[in-house]
Symmetry: C2
Subunit: 511 residues, 2 copies
């Protein structure tokens, strides 16, 4: 399919050039729209514009023409899109519901301010609002507006924007009735370490255990450390009254993902059944500019539907995505007493589901993208400490940046227990005896969903084209009961794209 062995097939990458943050994620009339920070002119950051891609399953993406190109006077930084069902902006014409993009424009004076553009043809073409910007603090780091509907304390719905003063480590909340006139509401922060830049906020409600009578609010925030630019995404649970966000524990920065390549995650607007689905940029500012790919650079993560349980946020594939994946594994494996290595010829695009039963003395490792006996990435789980770690130090093209070949690790379960009714001890005991890893490998992108999405871990690994093996082994002093299901996804997007072409016949604009 591609001669580029690192290129993902079921994670979105542009055909060519630099990409970073997902922008303007919105669902409309059966199609998921992904816009993204994009350099139309090169493989490095710059000339920031919004690229565009569409999908019906969040797995097979069709790249569309450039949505919002940079101009000599304006770069198009990150932002969000809303469906203005009630035409609050007046951008709608002849009953067509407008899509409205709220983006950060960066002008030649380096001021970052929020601006609007709208589309009347389902996101394919865009016009900028004639009186941009709509919100300007004369700041050089006021950016990443995420806009959603929320009721004020009197129960009246209106638009709410969260955006950051990035360098001041502040989340700013604004409200508006028309997306044009904005009123300041509140500030969250500064918190956490100095010398950290905040970016790409998102704020949304999740129903605890799916119960609509128990909504809780979740703030998602990405941070980029200075000076080394190590970047990651975090979540805070808390309360939002439509005006002010109060975190349950602002001191605890809970990573949304425990890998090193998960950043700028934000959620889709207007999703069916109000599912909260996020995409992230599978990269780290620390070394993103050096990532050894060409002519494309940067990929999105898989879509993740967030749900909230007593023990924290879970992230799993949305149903629409699961349904697009093969139901039957192409290879299965089972061992009552796994000891030495078992090696699968898995290719470079697959889903590897591993279920282990193991005791405290057991350790299991999964070498991925292994060739000639050397895995480009290794997942390792030590049952005694419940620690899942990930390293890409052994082989592969890992020398392009001195900080790339580091180890990530997470103690499972990482989630705290917000409710005293759950017993951390029994949870810990049960997890010491069972581990479920749902691992997606897609060229250079590795995403791990541990224990049904209780924790995730996203990492890039650049390997030789013939690094096709999975090496599964018990490393500890105790054998492991293991079950494997391996799904070949090499062809998945070819098949799905074909369906997409059949199904996604252009219809009349949404009215």
């Amino acid at each position: 399919m591609t001669d580029d062995a690192d290129k993902p097939v079921f994670h979105f990458t542009p055909q060519r050039n630099w990409m970073n943050d997902p922008n303007g994620l919105v669902y409309l009339d059966g199609v998921y729209h992904l816009f993204f920070q994009y350099n139309p002119d090169g493989n490095d950051w710059g000339n920031m514009s919004w690229g565009h891609a569409t999908s019906t399953d969040l797995l097979s993406w069709a790249e569309q023409s450039l949505a919002l190109p940079y101009t000599q006077d304006e770069q198009i930084f990150s932002g969000s899109i809303v469906v203005d069902h009630d035409n609050t902006t007046g951008f709608g014409q002849d009953g067509v519901v407008p899509l409205v993009a709220i983006y950060t424009r960066v002008t030649s004076n380096a001021v970052q301010a929020q601006a609007l553009a709208f589309s009347l043809d389902r996101g394919m073409t865009w016009q900028k609002y004639h009186a941009n910007p709509v919100l300007d603090r004369n700041s050089s780091a006021f950016r990443d507006p995420k806009v959603f509907r929320a009721a004020d304390r009197h129960g009246r719905e209106r638009w709410v924007m969260v955006a950051v003063e990035a360098e001041q480590r502040m989340l700013l909340v604004y409200s508006s009735h028309d997306l044009i006139m904005w009123a300041y509401e509140s500030t969250f922060g500064p918190f956490g370490d100095e010398g950290v830049v905040w970016e790409c906020p998102d704020l949304f409600a999740l129903n605890l255990n799916g119960d609509p009578s128990h909504p809780r609010w979740v703030l998602v925030l990405s941070t980029n450390k200075v000076p080394d630019h190590d970047s990651a995404a975090f979540s805070f649970t808390g309360h939002f009254d439509g005006h002010v966000f109060v975190a349950d524990d602002a001191e605890t920065w809970r990573p949304l993902d425990y890998g090193r390549d998960f950043y700028a995650a934000v959620s889709f607007a207007n999703t069916p059944d109000a599912c909260r689905i996020i995409l992230g940029w599978a990269n780290n500012w620390q070394y993103a500019a050096d990532a050894p790919t060409y002519p494309w650079r940067g990929a999105m993560t898989l879509p993740r539907q967030l749900e909230l349980t007593e023990t924290g946020i879970t992230q799993n594939l949305p149903a629409v995505t699961e349904e697009a994946l093969p139901a039957e594994p192409s290879q299965t494996y089972q061992a009552d007493h796994l000891e030495g290595p078992v090696i699968f010829d898995a290719g470079r695009h697959y889903r590897f589901r591993l279920t282990c039963t193991l005791d405290d003395a057991a350790e299991v490792s999964v070498g991925l993208l292994s060739g000639a006996g050397m895995p480009a990435a290794v997942l390792h789980y030590a049952a005694g400490t419940h620690t899942l770690s990930f390293e890409r130090t052994r082989s592969g093209r890992n020398e392009f940046h001195p900080r790339f070949a580091e180890v990530s690790s997470v103690r499972l379960p990482s989630s705290s227990s917000p409710s005293p009714s759950s017993s951390p001890q029994s949870l810990s005991q049960s997890l010491s005896h069972r581990l479920e890893l749902d691992i997606f490998v897609d060229g250079c992108i590795i995403e791990v969903f541990a224990n049904r999405g209780a924790d995730t871990l996203t990492m890039q690994a650049f390997s030789a084209p013939d690094a096709r093996e999975i090496v599964l082994s018990a490393d500890g002093r105790a054998p492991i009961r293991a079950r494997v299901e391996l799904y070949d996804l090499t062809q998945i997007t070819v098949a799905n794209s074909r369906m997409l072409m059949l199904e996604n016949v252009a219809g009349p604009p949404s009215e």
Copy 2:
């Protein structure tokens, strides 16, 4: 269990010293007795005596004390044992049924003649008949008597002996009422290539498709070529009227096994339900003396129960052996489209069941005892030509003899179709789409049962102690649907020996 990584655990080997042909195979009172050509004094051929081992499942063997030691005047060459239920010999005392061994004695004048010994304690101790030999042709190559009951043409049962004039390539048939006085009946041969020595004949009836009204006779014969001593075992189907054996086709030497290490196979006497179970010596005279093992040298094959179908003899494990093997695999694997290699950490003692569905362009290979990517033995099946081949040329300790590292191959199905009612074409078509290999690896012994015992292939392979892997791959132009069940047999004989000790409590002699 053993520091000797080549030593089998579920194939019989003596604890120390040289072993070759199985002798005196007999079942009595729940115990299978294996006697064998044995040098009590060294690791090379010589000082030939009968060793002794017992088993209840033909898998876990307990080595017993030396049964028939050589003396200064007499070496004890191969032969058979019968249960003299009717005390035709008069060796029985006080109602005890004697076991009678009919063996070839070789005296210092180099004459080979048939002699008797008997046991009144279930084979544990032996007395030689005082008037040996009982059958002497003053020949230097008259040996390997196999004795059984058969009716004469008047329907009267008596003892029948088949033995060989080895260098004259003749099978001699004698009869006796008391095992002492023998009458010449007939000669089969000479046939086949000159310069071949015939050895270890066996003659028995198999019921076609298990139907007692359709018995057919099978002659099993081992041959040893001169001068290179390449040795193998063959079978002929035919007719035996109690006096004369007539082969259906004396020109067609059908190998009993398509490997290079299957010799001197003979069957057990007195088995329950008249099962015909054979054991062979898993070796080849060509290089047996150089086999790089110490302090033992030589192993028996697994027991094989013979059955006769329209398309030939099948060889499968007896039920008593199957029942002693684990029912649940320790590892399983399944692939819809096997392509590149899948590697299992299998250890050095296991059963590997592979079922493939494949088309004519497909080839599958199974590397066994592989370490550091190099298999000591490789099974390869080319579906287009139905050819199963086996080679041990790539690695391992294969340089001890120049002829060891050769390739064996068999076209599947190898069996002819004696009955016109079966359709070779449809059989061939079905086999081109399905392959079943039941592979036993046990230290240095590899035994393959192909397509439910339609063909077997036994080979030795001497490998490094850390050669623990199975490498399964599709080599051809077409992918393969494959299912694997892997049973770890490292501990099998420990468990079974424990049961043996519990069950095999000495009781009174059989009466």
